[in-house]
Symmetry: C2
Subunit: 129 residues, 2 copies
DNA sequence: GGTTAATTACGAACGTCTTCGTTGACATTA
DNA sequence: TAATGTCAACGAAGACGTTCGTAATTAACC
């Protein structure tokens, strides 16, 4: 039996993960005070969410201190890729390329960003060759 | 007051929308029989979902015949872009470029697909100039 | 030690999502 | 016309998501 893959984080869970990715290991209060900026959220709400996320395996908890310290279990990159793969499957026939093209034509990106994307393409094609 | 934008379709709703985009206007039975291939779903389940989707404004209903005919209210492209914009906001700091780069490095695409993306980049930069 | 403050744990409330059974309306046909 | 089949409507059940009040626990401080 290998590790079962983590479930897709919900909206509220994702906003907590964003805080953890930015701050690193944090207590409930840390997260709540950070989160309150954009979205007023009560202390116990954040606590409950972090408890659920621990059960789901989305975060890990260090109980060494009285104030438990939580941290994201999966990196931001890994989670982003999983969300993209998931969306590709649900709405783009499983094709990452279709998804990319739609994303590019949908929103305008800056010239610098387009250049960065082009360089990334170069790197990918370089590897494949 | 302008039209309020439609809500993000749920998973089950999206799978129905995919059928409508492929088939065009369809009755409940049409959708259900198509859907049953990948995912066994009862008739009343599909009906209920389509009724909810009508309330939400995700589909439109033609009641001229006894068997009502449903159709997607928004094109596949438009919905895809909205889903991407939504995901960009929730997980990519609102940056479509970041999303694209992650999608490209996350999954390998074929050479043909990469070429198509490159051409799309050319077209975008051509317009912006 | 007793009081106060911070923290975790528990569970309830409320909404949404998904599924489906049942009912009543309508049509088809025997 | 009676029996049969198809359909929309309704409601309910169970799972999940989100929020928060309250209780229990622990630490800190006088």
């Amino acid at each position: 039996m290998t590790e079962r893959q983590p479930p897709r984080p919900t909206d509220a869970e994702l906003s907590i993960l964003r805080v953890l990715w930015r701050r690193g290991p944090s207590t409930v209060r840390d997260v709540q005070e950070d989160l309150i900026q954009e979205n007023p959220t009560g202390y116990t709400t954040v606590l409950k969410l972090l408890q659920i996320m621990t059960e789901k395996g989305l975060v890990v908890r260090d109980e060494a201190q009285r104030a438990h310290v939580y941290d994201a279990r999966y990196s931001e990159q890994k989670t982003q890729r999983q969300l993209l793969a998931d969306l590709a499957n649900r709405a783009f026939d499983g094709s990452a390329a279709k998804l990319v093209m739609q994303a590019l034509s949908g929103r305008k990106s800056s010239a610098a960003e387009l250049t960065a994307i082009r360089e990334l393409l170069d790197r990918i094609e370089g590897e494949t060759k």
